[in-house]
């Protein structure tokens, strides 16, 4: 049943989103100098949903986000936690009242996001697979 729902959601997404980007898998990337070569899905969720602020090797991690409601961002969260962006935002709003601060850095577009990761050893972010360069290390691929 869950699989069926997932299939339907993907189909809807495919119809709504732009054809070229929608079908492209998303890659989770880090600085080339980062010793972490691979990351699990849970560790990825924990990093982006604020549970952990460090990589499994206890090195500080800085999640890099796209600002606003970027299509890639929507797709990322949809693929990662199966939630629309509004709910993810609501989650963070709730946490803000308890005094918890988000460690993520926000970038207006993919270029600046990639630039920040290349420049920062602790950064971790998500980009469409087509935008991967030599300077980035892919640790996880979403929506394969």
């Amino acid at each position: 049943m869950a699989k069926f729902n997932q299939t339907i959601a993907i189909l809807i997404l495919a119809l709504v989103s732009t054809s070229a980007q929608a079908e492209e898998p998303l890659a989770v990337v880090v600085n080339k100098a980062n010793p972490v070569n691979e990351i699990s899905r849970s560790e990825l969720i924990d990093l982006f949903m604020g549970k952990y602020v460090a990589f499994p090797n206890d090195v500080k991690a800085i999640p890099v986000e796209l600002k606003g409601e970027h299509d890639i961002k929507v797709e990322f969260y949809q693929n990662l936690v199966d939630m629309p962006l509004s709910r993810v935002n609501a989650y963070w709003s709730r946490l803000r009242f308890t005094g918890r601060k988000r460690t993520a850095v926000f970038k207006p577009n993919e270029e600046e996001l990639i630039a920040f990761i290349i420049a920062n050893e602790h950064a971790i972010g998500y980009v469409p697979q087509s935008l991967i360069t030599e300077d980035l290390k892919v640790v996880y691929i979403l929506n394969e």
């Binding site: 849970s42 969720i45 949903m49 604020g50 549970k51 990662l80 936690v81 199966d82 939630m83 989650y91 709730r94 946490l95 308890t98 005094g99 918890r100």
Partner: protein
């Protein structure tokens, strides 16, 4: 009020039933309420869990104590929750009084982002006490309502019973008490029960009263008739001039009338309960009574016999006794004995007898009676001597002193003669100054002696009171013997008469002569004739 009265009984039954039903209802309702509340409580807790689960999940996921505290406090602020706790790998947040126990409900908390990833456990302790209190409160209200209901039902039932059933019945009972059976009084039908069973009861009672009245009227009439009849019979019985007595075979008197009582009184006898069989002690001739009764009863007749009564009085009392055998309805033999007083008749008869047979002056038997007596003697062939006596010189006395003095002298002679005779001897006045004396079984010598005595008695002078003068008479006596001299009565008398005249004739010669036997005279006569 009556302890076993309808109202009390009904009240007891209703109250008892109400209490039992109330207790059962309350208990059942309490159980039901409690279970219901418990289920509601569990449901409420589940709902609470649903409400807090996203936040609790987030708190567990992040290990955020602040958020966990928020959840726990939120839960505890509910009445139905006494304590709550959130436990994760790294964190344990619990409310005050939290103590893990069996009634603690556990909810597994999953990661908000990965539905299969357990991140912690939520513990909730439901408020059992709160449930009990709530159930108790509801049950108490219920019990109160049931009690009020029972009270109202009891009250209404009692009132209805009292006013609709008991009071009308009591009124009928009261009315019945004040009614005298046999009169035209009737009880009135209760107005509200014209057609009910109680009305029917009143009707039935009235029917019964009517029947009783009829019955009593009939009985009263019958009683009056019997009374009239009885008074008539009593009058007959009590006023009967004859004494009537009802006796048992052993002689016990069952019943007697006033006349009998008076009779006993006049007899100067004590009034007793028993005078022997057939009142035999009252009579002088008991044997006659029994003989008569035996003969009469064997012929199925009443016995009737005239008997003289035993009495201490001088006067003789005679009664005609009629004894009738009576068989009662229960086959007992009784005797009705009637005593008719016949003393007067007896007396009259004896007076008549006296007049017919006795000489009015001297009270001696008269000639007729003497002849009758002689005939009887002859008929029985009993030997006797017959003395014919005639007074000498009586006529001159009669002439000189008058008839009264003559009568007086005759009475004197009669009494003088009586003195010299035996009881069996019979003295009679034959006529005028003639007397006949019969001496049964007497020989010549004996007769001579008697005659000598008689002559001696007569020779005593008699004082005539009227004339203050003493006189005396002599007599001539002729004797004949039956059957030696003669068997024919008239001839016998003639012989004595002849002998007596012989004496009178010879007296002129021999003054002392007073007696002659006819046998001697016949001899003399024969002698005188012979020459």
């Amino acid at each position: 009020m009556n302890k076993s009265g309808l109202v009390i009984r009904l009240a007891v039954v209703i109250i008892f039933t109400a209490v039992i039903v109330g207790l059962i209802t309350t208990q059942l309702f309490y159980r039901f309420t409690f279970l219901n509340e418990q289920a509601l409580g569990e449901q409420s807790i589940k709902q609470l869990y649903k409400t807090v689960s996203p936040t609790a999940s987030i708190a567990s996921y992040l290990g955020d104590e602040e958020l966990a505290n928020e959840v726990v406090n939120g839960l505890v602020s509910n009445d139905i929750v006494t304590a709550a706790a959130i436990q994760t790998d790294t964190l344990l947040v619990k409310s005050e009084h939290y103590q893990k126990s069996t009634d603690t409900v556990e909810f597994v908390l999953f990661s908000p982002f990965q539905k299969d990833r357990e991140v912690g456990i939520l513990f909730v302790q439901s408020n059992e006490n709160h449930l009990t209190v709530k159930a108790n409160k509801i049950s108490a209200t219920n019990a109160f309502v049931v009690a009020i209901e029972a009270f109202i039902i009891t009250l209404v039932s009692i009132l209805v019973t009292y006013y609709v059933i008991t009071r009308p019945i009591l009124n009928i009972g009261k009315a019945l008490h004040s009614i005298t059976p046999g009169t035209s009084e009737r009880i009135s039908k209760p107005r509200s029960h014209q057609k009910s069973e109680i009305g029917q009861l009143a009707d039935d009672v009235n029917d019964l009263l009517a029947k009783a009245e009829q019955q009593m009227l009939r009985e009263k009439n019958l009683r009056d008739e019997v009374q009239v009849l009885e008074s008539r019979f009593r009058m007959l019985f009590e006023n009967a001039t004859s004494a009537i007595v009802l006796v048992e075979p052993q002689g016990d008197i069952l019943f007697y009338n006033e006349t009998f009582e008076q009779l006993i009184e006049t007899l100067k006898l004590p009034l007793k309960k028993n005078y022997g069989n057939y009142l035999q002690d009252l009579f002088i001739m008991k044997k006659d009574l029994h003989d008569h009764i035996r003969i009469a009863f064997s012929n199925n007749e009443s016995a009737a016999i005239e008997l003289e009564l035993n009495t201490y009085q001088e006067e003789k009392r005679w009664v005609q006794v009629v004894v009738t055998q009576l068989i009662t309805d229960d086959f007992q033999e009784n005797y009705q004995i009637t005593l008719h007083d016949i003393s007067k008749r007896k007396k009259q008869i004896s007076l008549l007898d006296q007049k017919a047979n006795y000489d009015g002056l001297t009270n001696l038997l008269n000639r007729q009676a003497a002849e009758h007596n002689l005939k009887q003697l002859v008929a029985t062939k009993a030997p006797f001597a017959l003395i014919m006596m005639d007074l000498n010189d009586f006529k001159p006395i009669n002439d000189i002193f008058g008839h009264d003095s003559g009568d007086e002298l005759l009475i004197h002679v009669a009494s003088q003669l009586m003195k010299s005779l035996r009881k069996a001897d019979v003295l009679s006045r034959w006529g005028g100054d003639e007397f006949v004396i019969v001496l049964p079984n007497a020989g010549k010598e004996e007769v001579s002696n008697v005659c000598a005595k008689l002559a001696a008695q007569l020779s005593k002078p008699h004082h005539l009171s009227q004339h203050n003068k003493s006189v005396f008479v002599t007599a001539s006596m002729g004797v004949s013997f039956y059957p030696d001299d003669q068997v024919e009565l008239l001839e016998l008398i003639r012989l004595a008469d002849k002998a007596m005249y012989q004496v009178k004739r010879d007296k002129s010669v021999n003054k002392e002569l007073y007696l002659a036997f006819s046998s001697d005279i016949s001899y003399v006569k024969n002698n005188s004739k012979a020459p």
